[in-house]
Symmetry: C2
Subunit: 258 residues, 2 copies
DNA sequence: CGTAAGTTTGACTTACATCAAGTTTTGTGG
DNA sequence: CCACAAAACTTGATGTAAGTCAAACTTACG
């Protein structure tokens, strides 16, 4: 397998064809990958890398705005983000849209489509990113042979349920300011787990997209950013965010009312 | 194993001790159970009953108000509702509560706790109900031996992710009337799948609980029931609901605005 | 049969949405 | 590299869906 990064044409900026048609780098390897420990929950004695190498045979490089998965695409693989970020968008019957997921390095996408065999969300790349392709056939086959992997994979699916539930709770019980504070702190935690700065990062989404993710309108998101900035909780400059007072943000979440 | 239904004391009404201390009926059997096909997604050639018999060794009978699982309990088993209904309640750090699930016959609970090994929601029984206890050890062991079951179990977990996402979408994008209409139609579909009447059923939750589930206040729920009744969409008499105009309810959901 | 829990309905408030300008940033082609 | 158009963002004024408060009514239950 040979690196063919030059395949990308400028036209792909807008709409991606099937990922397999994209550049495939030299054979990827989980055992030498810096982020693999994030992809799957793993037991202490068995580092996931040991048996995962056979799982990822392909890596796909996509550009900002490219679509990794279209709503309606047949489910064949899970995708682990090797680097970069993306959003999952669901369209409701009435034409409404919601961003149900904002995903960064080390997160694995697509598990919700196992059941139906069809993806019902569109996954769009938010910056130049690399994805590891986990053919589901191989995932299942490995689970059959390795009890340890089977356990990890179940834990991974269970974790996804918990993450969805957490978002659900946010949308069901929190006020606007609590939602944004929660979003920022959650993101900070995820960056920290990845060894990045946990208090200084660049948002890859517009105010409108953040709003869609939090069940708010872009104006509300913008106003809240300004307010948090004024109150000295954060420092915002466009999409660059610095968390200045994590305790203060946590207090906003923990405050029952007002 | 002998039926010991007489074990129940009136005191148990409020707080249940561990389910294993409750009445255990004669050895239950999936292969002769009417609702098993609902518990796990199954392939056409392999009816789930074939290999599931070894899975369920216990059945627990609980009363209205009993608690099946407390927040903080160690995860050891999944619970399938053989008959009856229950609610899953999550408490937020700030003391807020949300009902994250309203479950009826044939639904399987607890999968979100596999990852952490600890339940973070409290499951309370809404009417006298029977639960099949699926020790997770046995679930994993069976998955190891049966590819078909492994596949089903993955599909089940994936389906749960999708269900959470559906609720998330409701909370993130819908207005109050859309949420209630959606809740009623969803419930109707679930009853239909169980062979019950899909347009006439008894809600086992109070207005407050329904509100908590839909991210609304009880007064709003009550007003909406009254309005839907006036508009001839449904017929409500306390907790008894009759759906009179499913298309009308669907239209409420599909209407973008107003 | 009486108390408590649940429900309905009305009057009023509020958090967020909507509408509307104006400003800044981004990106593209000359 | 600059110019200029499009996209993204900010901020203010106003509207409204749903929340809050309150009182009366109904149902469940010991």
């Amino acid at each position: 397998m040979v690196a063919t990064a030059a395949l990308h044409s400028p036209l792909q900026q807008q709409r991606a064809v099937h990922p397999t048609l994209h550049a495939v780098r030299t054979t990827p390897s989980c055992s030498t990958c810096g982020v693999v420990s994030l992809c799957l929950p793993c037991s202490a004695e068995h580092e996931p890398g040991e048996y995962l190498d056979e799982l990822v045979t392909q890596r796909t490089h996509l550009h900002k705005g490219d679509v990794l998965v279209h709503r309606g695409d047949r489910f064949t693989a899970l995708y682990a983000i090797h680097s970069g970020s993306c959003k999952s968008v669901v369209t409701t019957t009435c034409g409404g849209e919601q961003i149900v997921g904002y995903h960064i390095t080390g997160e694995v996408l697509g598990a919700e489509a196992i059941f139906k065999g069809v993806h019902d969300s569109t996954i769009t790349v938010l910056e130049d990113s690399e994805f590891c392709v986990l053919q589901f056939e191989r995932v299942q086959s490995l689970a059959r042979r390795s009890d340890d992997f089977q356990r990890s994979f179940n834990a991974f699916l269970s974790r996804e349920i918990g993450l969805e539930r957490k978002l659900m709770l946010m949308l069901g019980t929190m006020r606007a300011e609590q939602r944004l504070a929660s979003f920022l702190l959650d993101l900070a935690d995820r960056y920290r787990a990845r060894g990045y700065s946990s208090c200084e990062f660049v948002l890859r989404m517009t105010r409108e997209e953040i709003g869609s993710h939090l069940g708010l309108k872009l104006e509300t998101v913008s106003r809240l950013f300004s307010r948090f900035h004024q109150e000295g909780l954060i420092c915002v400059q466009g999409r660059e965010v610095k968390l200045l007072d994590r305790t203060g943000l946590q207090q906003i979440i923990d405050t029952a009312d007002q």
